[in-house]
């Protein structure tokens, strides 16, 4: 990067000024870091590379040094004393490299920070500044553009998606031995609208049929949208909140268009976060329908006896990878373990796990930024070591981005494990009712569920 224009600088500083004027969290975290450096050993980039540029406190310092330079008197008049830096081309380049290419925004350092600085929040704010300067890595921006222009981040044409779904529906019918078993598309007035990660129809269609099997067993009234089914939202990562809001709006509007009671977010960590936690804030309104994750829904099915599972059907030793956006940043620590432990006979935890777990390395949009592939796979070595130490042969995770990264880690580090989503594990453990019995036929139950609003209400997850 040779230079940045005055307009670019002004746009970034105006954004920072606006955030400072309204957001006490921003002001707090910009001023709270004491640069003790103890966060270094909580960051997988630092652990993998031992390069001080990856110290989380330094990433915070990139953004806070701009704040000090332009928004504090001491930084304005004595910049060298307070490490107050100009927002110039060199700085912008450093920010792109560290904030986009050197952070998965997993938040592990946040939990372990001696002060409590929300590093990933500041990294996100830094990315927002880079976004208004037009400095989002092209690969990441292309993913966002695809989602905005086509409704899904892999730009899968609707016809192709519909064909895949029809194919999966036939598979489901064959497997269930029930011609009524279906994968509904664009049905209105269903209880649930279900969403997918576009990687599913593109690369892993069996995970769609796994979830369809769970819905079938639960006798659920559900539908997919043929156009707006993408649960992911890379607008959360590129720092462009308008684009993130637009993508979040697709699911919001589609839920209304199809008149569904509940939006169920498919197995995707950041996608779930972008809708469940960030969506209402991006759209600046509380959602007027229920929203839950597939994980919570499956937990509810098991708890209420709507589906029956037999853990002896999954005998292989399994371990669990906690997606950062569902566990540390989403509070689903227990739900995930409840579902998995209900469905597998042999389970072992990684060390560390839960809120302390390491990111897979593919978070923060890293999977979409091919320019940082080498870094991504190197930090993935930490996850590989964790997996190896468990001795497990199956790694379960309720996130398709994590699945993708874990598969690459599996290949790169020759782990010899199988990666599965939670829906796949639940589907494998399902005890299915006899479709020959009219009282046991889930497809019939689904029809009854639609007809009976009381039944529908009683199935609400919240």
């Amino acid at each position: 990067m040779d230079t940045i224009t005055k307009e670019q600088r002004k746009a970034a500083l105006d954004l920072m000024k606006a955030n400072l004027a309204s957001d006490s969290k921003f002001q707090t975290h910009l001023n709270a870091c004491v640069r003790c450096g103890l966060c270094a050993t909580s960051c997988m980039y630092y652990i993998a590379f031992k390069d001080p540029k990856y110290i989380p406190g330094r990433k915070v310092n990139l953004v806070s040094s701009i704040y000090r330079r332009y928004f504090t008197p001491e930084g304005k008049y004595f910049p060298s004393l307070f490490n107050a830096r100009n927002l110039d081309a060199e700085m912008a380049e450093e920010m792109v490299d560290c904030l986009f290419g050197g952070c998965t925004m997993c938040g592990r350092c946040v939990k372990h920070c001696s002060i409590g600085v929300d590093v990933s929040y500041i990294v996100k704010k830094g990315r927002e500044m880079l976004a208004v300067m037009g400095l989002v890595p092209k690969t990441l921006q292309a993913t966002v553009d695809a989602a905005i222009n086509t409704g899904n981040n892999m730009a899968i044409p609707t016809e192709e998606f519909v064909d895949t779904i029809k194919w999966m529906e036939e598979e489901l019918q064959d497997e269930m031995g029930d011609p009524k078993a279906n994968i509904p598309l664009d049905e209105t007035n269903r209880h649930i609208i279900y969403t997918l990660n576009p990687r599913e129809p593109k690369f892993f269609p069996l995970s769609i049929s796994a979830m369809a099997k769970v819905f079938y067993a639960a006798g659920e009234s559900w539908t997919l949208s043929s156009k707006y089914y993408d649960v992911t939202n890379y607008g959360f990562f590129n720092g462009n909140n308008e684009e993130a809001a637009k993508i979040a709006g697709y699911l919001y509007d589609e839920t209304h268009r199809l008149k569904a009671d509940k939006l169920v977010l498919g197995e995707c960590g950041h996608g779930s976060r972008a809708s469940r936690w960030e969506g209402p804030n991006l759209l600046k309104k509380a959602y007027d329908f229920e929203m839950t994750t597939a994980l919570e829904l499956m937990a509810e099915y098991i708890r209420t006896g709507r589906i029956k599972v037999d853990k002896t059907k999954n005998q292989t030793l399994c371990t669990l990878h906690d997606p950062c956006n569902l566990v540390r940043n989403g509070g689903l620590l227990e739900e995930m373990r409840f579902v998995v432990k209900s469905c597998v006979a042999n389970f072992v935890e990684m060390t560390p796990h839960g809120n302390d777990n390491f990111c897979c390395g593919g978070g923060g949009g890293q999977l979409a930024m091919s320019e940082y592939n080498e870094r991504r796979l190197k930090i993935g070595g930490i996850k590989a070591d964790q997996i190896k130490a468990t001795g497990a042969k199956i790694v379960i995770t309720p996130c398709h981005n994590c699945v993708d990264q874990l598969m690459q880690i599996n290949h790169t580090y020759k782990l010899g494990v199988t990666i599965k989503t939670v829906a796949e594990i639940v589907a494998d453990a399902l005890v299915l009712p006899d479709p020959a019995s009219p009282h046991d036929n889930p497809a019939d139950t689904a029809a009854e569920t639609v007809a009976d609003p009381l039944h529908t209400d009683s199935n609400s997850s919240k």
Binding site: V34, L81, L333
Partner: protein
């Protein structure tokens, strides 16, 4: 009171004015606004953020770096003690009273330990390449001025116990020491709201925000699995 004492009091007023303005600025912006459906308990999250989450066992920054963590904790205790001691010394100066010798010795001993911890952290910042790479003048100076304030406090305690009162200094050779103490205090108070020592305010705000964030999402208090 000697003039340096008045200067330090003026500096303290400057410091408090700034810190209060930061605090008011934060309060004015209000509590975090979140339109998503709350899943957990923010009050419990904030309480945990300031209690359990701060325990050494809960944080890698503590249990993976025990010597630094311990030194940091002791150094911070020393800093707070020094600030309280400053108020006490001003009161003594105004009221012409002295510090009981035993108390003075205890305080001096505590501050000796804490100032050594401050020196340890300072050396680490100079020696550790990674730490030095993220440090600026403020990081070194803030540590130095706090440590110096503690050392000056030790000297004062050892020199002005009930052997003599603080007002004696005006007419004795201890005037130099008193001036040193108050000037160091004044520099510290002037620097505090400008440099990183202002985390005195922002630390608590950070714990609040973090507790709110994790509490809202039902991550904190953590579940036992």
């Amino acid at each position: 009171m000697i003039i340096s004492a008045w200067i330090s009091i003026a500096a303290l007023i400057w410091c408090i004015a700034f810190l209060v303005s930061y605090l008011i600025g934060l309060i004015r912006k209000g509590a975090p606004k979140d339109l998503s459906e709350r899943s957990g308990n923010t009050v419990k999250g904030i309480i945990y953020s300031n209690t359990g989450a701060m325990l050494p066992a809960a944080k890698e920054s503590a249990y993976m770096h025990l010597p630094t963590y311990t030194a940091g904790m002791i150094f911070h205790i020393g800093n707070f003690l020094s600030l309280l001691m400053f108020v006490w010394i001003i009161v003594c100066c105004c009221c012409n009273i002295s510090t009981p010798a035993v108390l003075a010795l205890i305080l001096a001993a505590l501050l000796t330990v804490s100032s050594l911890c401050g020196i340890f952290i300072l050396i680490k910042r100079f020696v550790n390449v990674n730490l030095r790479s993220i440090s600026c003048f403020d990081d070194f100076f803030s540590n130095i001025i706090c440590t110096l304030f503690q050392i000056a406090g030790i000297c004062i305690m050892l020199s002005f116990s009930n052997i003599c009162t603080y007002t004696d200094a005006c007419s004795a050779d201890r005037l130099c020491l008193m001036n040193f103490y108050f000037i160091v205090a004044a520099i510290l108070f002037i620097w505090m709201p400008l440099g990183k020592i202002k985390h005195l305010i922002y630390y608590f705000a950070a714990r609040y925000h973090l507790g709110f964030f994790y509490g809202w999402r039902n991550t904190w208090p953590p579940k036992h699995i």
